[in-house]
């Protein structure tokens, strides 16, 4: 027997990894009709792994102090070898993650994959989405540039519209009457420890449920029939399905490389899309730059607040929408998942999506 074989046998006796690989890779079958949208979960796992690694690397040089934060980021960009690459990958990767999260959320909605028995999987996925937005928002302030400073001033000012406790909320969020060292310290703590810890727990439950309950069967094609909700737990079975490895992993890899190509294309050729000139000026609490706007994924909520005559109503509408999405699996109880047979749902889905895109474009040009 070869040396490699002996090592593998030795480890297998002690870890039982061949059995694990067999059950979870080659023997684990997925629906034959599975499509590329299902690979977005794997894409997100890879993108988040890149964020964690690049984030840890940035921590080596970043100084969370209002006097030194901007300077330390400039040192990373200009003096540390490949510092620009690590920083761009982290900053632009956050945007690509939000894009992938939105596509994942939309595809799950469109295919009604949130329905019984996957309601809890949806709930945890939705919480992961909110946590990721929290990570993006808190990370945005850390470079302490004009862009990050004023976007945070505007962002942290939003809860002021909440009746009764609004002002207290703003004070608590900022750690003081204005955005300053206290804000930077608490955003830093949340960004590097608080949110990642919560994120890890949520992700664990989400992935556990995906594996335990199984992925939903795509509601397309002549052979698909809606299944009644199960009365008791059963292991996922997909007769005639394709093995997770190598068949499905190949699809996953194709999508992962597509997103990595997108990320690297922006990093190398168009980083200015996400890092405009104001991102390279140190924060000045006494000079608000003209036309300050939040990140693209916060433009729609930002525009809603601008068009609503009452700020409180604008906030409440958005909270109601988020709550509606959160509890959707518990409201939408019908068995039918085929989009072609759900005209009302699909119409509302498309109209809502168009409104979101419209508000985002409006927010960016107005």
């Amino acid at each position: 027997m070869s040396c490699r074989g002996k090592v593998m046998d030795y480890l297998d006796v002690r870890f039982g990894f061949r059995d694990l690989l067999h059950h979870n890779f080659t023997e684990y079958l997925l629906p034959r009709t599975i499509n590329a949208w299902y690979a977005l979960g794997a894409v997100l796992l890879v993108l988040f792994a890149i964020q964690f690694i690049s984030g840890i690397l940035l921590l080596v040089y970043y100084i969370p102090d209002t006097e030194h934060a901007f300077e330390s980021v400039q040192t990373i960009m200009n003096d540390v070898p490949f510092g620009w690459l690590i920083r761009y990958v982290h900053a632009i990767g956050a945007n690509v993650i939000v894009l992938a999260l939105l596509l994942h959320l939309l595809s799950v909605l469109f295919m009604s994959a949130y329905k019984d028995p996957r309601e809890i999987t949806w709930v945890f996925g939705f919480l992961i989405f909110l946590t990721s937005l929290g990570m993006s928002f808190t990370g945005y302030l850390l470079p302490w540039s004009q862009l990050s400073y004023w976007a945070t001033v505007v962002g942290t000012n939003m809860p002021e519209a909440v009746p009764v406790i609004g002002e207290e909320l703003v004070l608590f969020l900022r750690g003081g009457p204005s955005v300053g060292q206290q804000t930077l310290s608490r955003f830093f703590a949340l960004h590097v420890m608080g949110f990642p810890f919560i994120f890890g727990l949520l992700l664990f439950v989400h992935l556990f449920l995906v594996r335990r309950i199984g992925v939903s069967i795509p509601p397309f094609g002549p052979t698909y029939r809606p299944e009644p909700p199960p009365k008791e737990f059963r292991h996922p079975e997909y007769p005639g399905g394709i093995p997770f490895f190598p068949n499905y992993v190949t699809k996953d890899l194709a999508m992962i490389y597509l997103f990595l190509t997108l990320l690297m294309a922006v990093v190398f050729f168009a980083p200015w899309i996400f890092l405009p000139a104001q991102a390279f000026e140190p924060a000045d609490p006494f000079t608000t730059p003209a036309g300050i706007k939040p990140e693209w994924y916060f433009l729609a909520p930002y525009q809603i607040l601008r068009i609503f005559p009452n700020k409180t109503a604008g906030i409440l509408v958005q909270l109601a929408f988020l709550l509606f999405l959160f509890v959707l699996p518990f409201i939408d109880r019908s068995m039918e998942r085929r989009p072609a047979r759900r005209p009302v749902f699909v119409s509302v889905f498309i109209i809502t999506l168009l409104i979101f895109i419209g508000l985002t474009v409006w927010g960016s040009v107005s």
Partner: protein
């Protein structure tokens, strides 16, 4: 007779995929390695000399400063004579202190003792303290 090993299609694809994966891993790890490398290993960043104002080093006094990333010390044991040494004890890397009454460098960690010239007088240090050349230029000391 030993059977001749033939390359299967699956083996070929696995080998090519592994080679690509190894290349990508190396390409990803190279920037990380460079990013984490300490500044002194980067080209052109080695500090060649240090400048200390003459007024900081009175007769019988020692002045501590950083040179080439290490704590260092310059001493005037007798008027007009200057000695510059590494302040890092050669035993386990603690920083020595100057004891003017005894006229020795003393390591507080394990009681190593060095002469003003850096020679080992007692204790566990295996080697003398490394010394640096000192030049007096007007009202400054140029070390290194």
């Amino acid at each position: 007779m030993k059977a001749k090993k033939t390359l299967t299609r699956r083996g070929f694809v696995a080998a090519v995929a592994s080679a690509i994966a190894a290349g990508l891993a190396a390409a990803s790890l190279w920037p990380v390695w460079e990013f984490l490398s300490p500044p002194k290993t980067r080209e052109g960043q080695e500090q060649e000399t240090a400048v200390v104002p003459l007024s900081n080093v009175g007769p019988g006094k020692a002045h501590f400063f950083e040179f080439q990333g290490h704590p260092s010390v310059v001493l005037q044991p007798s008027p007009g004579k200057f000695i510059a040494l590494s302040a890092v004890c050669t035993h386990l890397g603690c920083i020595v202190e100057w004891r003017p009454r005894e006229e020795i460098f003393f390591c507080p960690c394990h009681a190593g003792r060095f002469s003003p010239e850096g020679k080992v007088l007692g204790g566990p240090p295996p080697r003398p303290l490394p010394s640096y050349p000192v030049k007096v230029r007007k009202d400054q000391l140029i070390i290194g």
